[in-house]
Symmetry: C2
């Protein structure tokens, strides 16, 4: 499937202001793409001895981008257009372009350079302190940096401004318009359903055999299978590449034309690599599916982090952990690992991928408990940013919440409050993960509705119908619409956590043989 299709969107280039904004956007997009390429190289290829000089190259490029992004001429242009585009004679793409450009201009101009530099310095030291703290499981090493980070994050929030709570300003950076007032009831519902399904699973008396996922899987074969399943979900290698890195990620240098992914292999556990491939592949097919007319604008790529995560999770969990999908991919699996899977059936393997068990580490969590990990972080971030809770109390708070929500307690802070790198940079990112799961479940329900024979198609190795539908209804729009509008367009309904509740309950009742 090619990224070049009939355009969905168009800009009113006859308007000189739109044309001028597109020219500026194109230049910024090109520089951003080149920076992303340098980042990709850094993670996948760069020799260790080049770290310092690469850092200088990034600084130069970022300085240039910042200079262009804060150009007062750009400010005048977007503010003038911001009033104009709501009128007739402009397209959705025009409005999206102006909205997104204004957002970027405002973000870039609201923070004084001194604060940005201070944040970068504190982040570098905080990451270093975090690594040391986690290695020795000594929260006290990280605590002073967490205090400084929190202070800076509060200043950032105050400078960006907010109408509800301070934390809203930080979430908005990652997910436009997201607020505590919206998230609190959503997450309350997710917490309730997650804990209820977990209890059902644990009380089912049923266990899942995970033997087929474990064994000895040489790296070269795992990489081969990762490429096979990426092709299997429709990832287009003529507009992408797959490599290895310490942490799997997706990046674009000019979406939809060049969208790359990385995976990581674990020699004794196959799902680590192939489920990462499908997860990153989900992000990537979203970016590859964008309307080419949006290329070189801030509308290329996804609508938000939440929208993005909805697609990585939809492909990874709803499709990629289903029996039908593995039936369709089973020939590839058996070809790469003939001995291991000679007598294993795809249903057995798919079940192994859905094993549920409360665990301490978020990135290893199953679908039922994953959002509880996120909710704990969300609640703690709110407490730090809005309630100025004392940093020293965080380990205790963390452990109490794990006990309450998951029924387990970290024996060390390394397995608890120190496990994620994110707090070295700031707050507001985590909630988009759960939001993505909610959006993903809702979109998946629409997809199933459009294709009642979805499982049977997957079982035949067909995924093109799903990708085609998602492209047509969602991916093509890039960031033209705000995330909530986009979900409403795709599914015909405003974001609603009921879809996720139903999805989770039904799926794991099935996996664990629980009567409805």
């Amino acid at each position: 499937m090619s990224a070049k299709e009939t355009p969905t969107h168009s800009f009113t280039t006859g308007d000189g202001r739109i044309a001028a904004l597109l020219e500026r956007s194109g230049e910024l997009a090109d520089l951003g793409a080149i920076g992303a390429l340098a980042g990709w190289d850094q993670e996948t290829a760069m020799p260790e001895g080049a770290a310092e000089t690469r850092g200088q190259q990034f600084a130069t490029l970022e300085g240039l981008i910042h200079q262009k992004l804060t150009d007062p001429e750009l400010g005048r242009l977007v503010n003038e257009l911001n009033n104009a585009v709501s009128g007739a004679g402009f397209t959705d793409a025009d409005r999206g372009l102006v909205r997104q450009s204004k957002r970027e201009y405002d973000h870039a101009t609201k923070l004084p350079l001194g604060l940005v530099q201070e944040m970068a310095k504190v982040r570098t030291s905080a990451v270093e302190a975090w690594r040391k703290a986690r290695a020795t499981s000594d929260f006290a090493v990280f605590a002073p940096w967490l205090v400084r980070t929190a202070t800076l994050q509060r200043e950032v929030a105050d400078r960006y401004g907010f109408t509800g709570t301070r934390y809203d300003a930080l979430m908005d950076l990652f997910e436009p318009d997201l607020t505590v007032a919206k998230v609190d009831p959503l997450f309350a519902r997710v917490r309730e359903i997650s804990m209820r399904v977990l209890k059902k699973v644990q009380g089912s008396g049923h266990t899942v055999d995970t033997a087929s996922a474990h064994g000895s899987f040489p790296q070269a074969q795992q990489l081969q299978l990762c490429e096979d399943v990426l092709r299997g979900i429709g990832y287009d290698f003529s507009h992408g590449e797959m490599k290895q890195s310490t942490h799997p990620f997706t990046t674009s240098f000019g979406a939809p034309f060049d969208v790359r992914v990385t995976v990581r292999c674990q020699e004794d556990y196959l799902p680590a690599s192939i489920m990462a491939a499908i997860h990153e592949g989900g992000h990537a097919v979203y970016e590859q599916g964008g309307d080419p007319a949006l290329a070189r604008t801030p509308l290329a790529g996804g609508a938000s982090l939440g929208a993005h995560e909805s697609q990585s999770r939809l492909w990874e969990n709803a499709i990629g952990r289903s029996e039908g999908f593995w039936q369709g991919q089973w020939a590839a699996v058996r070809k790469v690992f003939p001995e291991k899977f000679a007598s294993v059936e795809p249903g057995t393997f798919a079940k192994a991928l859905n094993h549920v068990e409360p665990s301490l580490i978020r990135v290893e969590a199953d679908e039922v408990t994953y959002n509880l990990h996120i909710i704990i972080r969300y609640e703690m971030e709110k407490a730090i940013v809005n309630d100025n809770v004392a940093v020293e109390s965080l380990p205790g708070l963390w452990n109490a919440k794990y006990k309450e929500y998951l029924g387990i307690e970290p024996p060390t802070d390394a397995e608890g409050v120190l496990q994620d790198i994110h707090w070295s940079s700031g707050f507001g990112y985590f909630p988009t993960y759960t939001l993505g799961n909610l959006y993903g479940a809702q979109i998946y329900a629409s997809l199933r509705h459009a294709f009642p024979d979805l499982d049977a198609r997957l079982a035949k190795g067909d995924t093109a119908f799903a990708l085609g539908w998602l492209r047509e209804h969602m991916y093509t729009h890039g960031a033209v619409y705000l995330p909530e509008d986009l979900i409403t367009r795709v599914t015909g309904e405003a974001p609603n956590p009921d879809f996720f509740a139903k999805y989770l309950d039904e799926k794991f009742s099935r996996v664990y043989g629980i009567a409805g």
Copy 2:
């Protein structure tokens, strides 16, 4: 061997103008490095579907660099410094920085934007026409583009200006201060010695057994051996990487800290990959050996193309085709290809690498005939640029020169005048190849003089002594000195073709068992 050593050079940063120029140079170097990285990615990894969007990214970056390079403030700064640095209180590095910066500023400002854009357009079409012409061996397809290229190149030369001939201006772009007045006598000498040694070899009655170089060499093993020999000559993988590409090349993203090479494998002929590895490795160790104090200035990297080629050829030919070198590397060769080389001695293999035979294709030529290929191109470029020779006469001229110098005639233009891509871009580059061979032989003579036991050391697998000496005497200086000054500093004598004459005669008398 690390790239970080005690600095040889320093800048007078106490002078505000030098500091200002260094700041501008650093920014330009960073942007140039990021562009080179995008070029590396394009040749080694980029998916085909990204070509167009990458082209736009290059155009944006080049536009920015051009804007910064032609800043009138920069012009004022370099012109003021140009007068100042000849006085006391400035270092060699200051003078080199100002000289090189002025050169770049002058080059960037002398051509009007319209001409630069026209050249880029003609180049794109000319490359396309050349590919088609070569595929069908139809010179008429390429001829009109060669006419346009020549017209543009004459305009370029006129705008840059020259005191001798027009062609001087074009050569100067690649090799500062190179002129026809200098090259003519040099190349006359090279032609004479090359033809004389060729005649001796052909009359020796001796043949070289090349069987050890041919066979079946799987790609993965060839790449392994390429890495081994790169390590063998001291290439530092902690400041580099090796990949594959259609044509082998070396590139830097911030020399000396990140210098990468590519190779190309030929399944049935081992030298194609490993000799490319040593050739590119020679370029790379030169760049990796630069004084870190010169990083992020136009003095990082080599002094000129000729100086660069002197090192690729020194490592490839003088060292890399010697018996001693392969004795030292033989354990690695036998480890990678145990069966093939079980009963082959390193001396037999080294001899096979020095097989001499006139051939039609420059890039496949041996050391004796290689410069004759270059001289033919040099003579024809002079005829085109200075004498306005009719383009239609070029195939006939080409064939006549091959007959005269090499005793063979191309049966088709694809194997003759159409073989190289270079004339799609312009003229003036080829002479630096032969210049590199002359410089390389002279430097190699100094190296042998410093280490009379050079062969015995190589035979023990030691190359660090040679790299150390070259670093100390040459590489550390980057582009601080003009190429001729640099050769004089390294060897104690002005550039002199006698060294090459002696080298060639002695070496091939030895290989072909000819009494002295």
